[in-house]
Symmetry: C4
């Protein structure tokens, strides 16, 4: 049927979601990922050197900004790759699913701001804790949005029903553990900002590993 | 015919508009939506703390900017979702239709500016009224552009003629009511900026509800 | 042949250029158009009001920036629409064609800068002439890039050979006249910046009219 | 099979990689290229003229920024064109390949920053050396990322196995020579920033020439 609405339910195991609503959601999401990831560099301002200052020193002094840039770039890159894998699992979408995605993207697009705050205040011993707490909060938000999309999809039965239940359970646990880790890092940031960052970086490195492949009932 | 111009009229009920002109218009519009929505965060500058100031206080003090960010993000997200639904209803386009879209996108791409003004001056009691008035004006403009596109499409008979007339009338009324509400909120902003914002936020929440699905003659 | 290189020549009247090189060039160009058009707003900074200043006055005082925003937005929008029409006329591309496009896009992506200069200095009677000259130069550059692409395409025989020669000649004359007009406006800007802007705005309005449709030999 | 994972291996000579994972990687990469290339202009700030200063002088005084803009624009444009050609050579991808691409894009998206530094400090005789060294380093990083992707693809046998080995060897040598040239220019920048820039510009001009076309076993 040419004029399928976005709630249309593809029946049967051969149904692949080719509804342009989903395609356009993916394209839009990719656009936001690509723009947010590329905007990160804009937040690093060219240093203005005063008397007795040296450009090389100033550029080297931006190490915290470079580090925050790399970390946030990899984070958004991982979200992009996972978003892509995830959306292969859905057979259909609905309006609320779409809106939850908008909220998730809102959290992703917000990331350049805490990244800039972290880059600017990580070296400032008086403000380091605040900067790290704010940054970890900035990482927690899209993780919460992600889990919300996932749980909503399960609840509303949007997933391909040929997926092996074990695989779905595995992902639910993985996403839940990620959020718990971010929440723990958030709490820890008040005590030890450095330890909090170590946890967050380690979790990111784990996500660089190849994801488990979806398994389907045969 | 391979070289159809953008005025080409698909006749018959099976005609779905697959003209690359429309596709490219949608892609371009999606690009502008994605960029405008992601640029919103750029307008929130990293606070520079002076003596006796505290980063945590400064970050918390940006609540108006966060609120304006969320509101404008959701607004543009809704326009994106609705633009997508709307374009499914058209069977063909013409040059003026294209140009009206450019003007609509101009109003959407303008939104980051009043958003930044709102975020910066909402707390300033002397300038709150101006900031809210300017922001509501910034919301009224794309709504006017949207209705113009819609009415032009009806006038030039660009819509799929299998659409139930009641559905077309319903949308016309809905868009007209939205503009009236923005216009009312604009006038109200001079008397009570807070009440004006409440109306605007409420209207946005209404648009988060699933849209009525298009109905076709059978 | 699956692995056609970007020089591949489609022979015969049924050959439509579906080479992904061209598609990707169009997508890339659309991306640059969409980003450049949306970045225009970033150049308008939120006014910082000092003592005795009023936000409403300051926002109203940005009229030159709003005007420059609208003019450049429409300009880029027209380039986008025409780029789309133009690329329907080509049967094939080559490497130099690709590189000429990169240079054309460079000129388009540069436009936000002279737009910002115009918006900031149009009201400054001492600098108005410089700002207008710089802006008209900013409009002349993409027009030169455009004509270069066009003439290169004719020279290298990249156009669909079924196009009526009269139509090709018409476009050549049109593009040549546009450049002449910009060049004249550039010279005039030294004498009368306002008259120069009037000419440039009028030319833009002309381009809002529907373009002549391509005609093919039958 | 509808639910191919991104590791899927297309067997046989007719296998063209149409896996949406690769397509989406290309689209995402193109997005980052388009955004990074268009953001370059944002780094050139509108000059604020003080007493006794002249806008025309100030705009002309930005020649180093214009030059850096042109050079980086062409660089990213070449990467875009080559990325496109390169990805035609792959039959399949895997997760690490994807992540290496994210790191390559990170280096490309970083380029606007050293470009801005070069534009601002090229004229400053005390800081010229630092600015050029930093910029050449900014060019070396994506070149290293590029070669890493290439070598990984060879190692993991991701390339189309019908490619003539001589062609693969030719590209490996070309990429290796490019990196050597950047590394040499980096070392040279400490002695003579101008000579270093001349080398970098010359290498860029070489890349404007048409690339050698892929050759396949028949």
């Amino acid at each position: 049927m040419a004029y399928s609405d976005s709630d249309s339910r593809s029946s049967g195991p051969s149904g692949r979601n080719t509804d342009s609503g989903t395609q356009r959601l993916e394209t839009f999401s990719d656009g936001v990922f690509a723009i947010a990831i590329t905007l990160l560099i804009i937040e690093i301002g060219v240093p203005h050197i005063g008397r007795g200052e040296d450009l090389a020193d100033e550029l080297a002094g931006l190490w915290a900004s470079y580090g925050a840039y790399v970390l946030s770039f990899v984070m958004i890159g991982i979200y992009w790759a996972n978003h892509h894998s995830l959306f292969k699992l859905y057979l259909r979408t609905d309006h609320i699913f779409l809106m939850l995605n908008v909220f998730f993207l809102m959290a992703v697009a917000f990331l350049p701001f805490p990244t800039a705050v972290l880059g600017e205040y990580l070296e400032d011993s008086a403000e380091r804790q605040t900067a790290v707490t704010f940054y970890v909060l900035g990482l927690l938000l899209p993780a919460v949005g992600w889990l919300t999309i996932w749980l909503y999809g399960i609840w509303r039965d949007l997933l391909d029903n040929r997926l092996v239940p074990d695989y779905v359970r595995f992902l639910t646990i993985q996403y839940g553990l990620s959020i718990s880790t971010y929440a723990f890092a958030l709490a820890l940031s008040f005590l030890s900002p450095v330890a909090s960052l170590v946890i967050v970086v380690s979790l990111t490195l784990l996500y660089l590993l190849p994801p488990r492949k979806p398994r389907y009932l045969t």
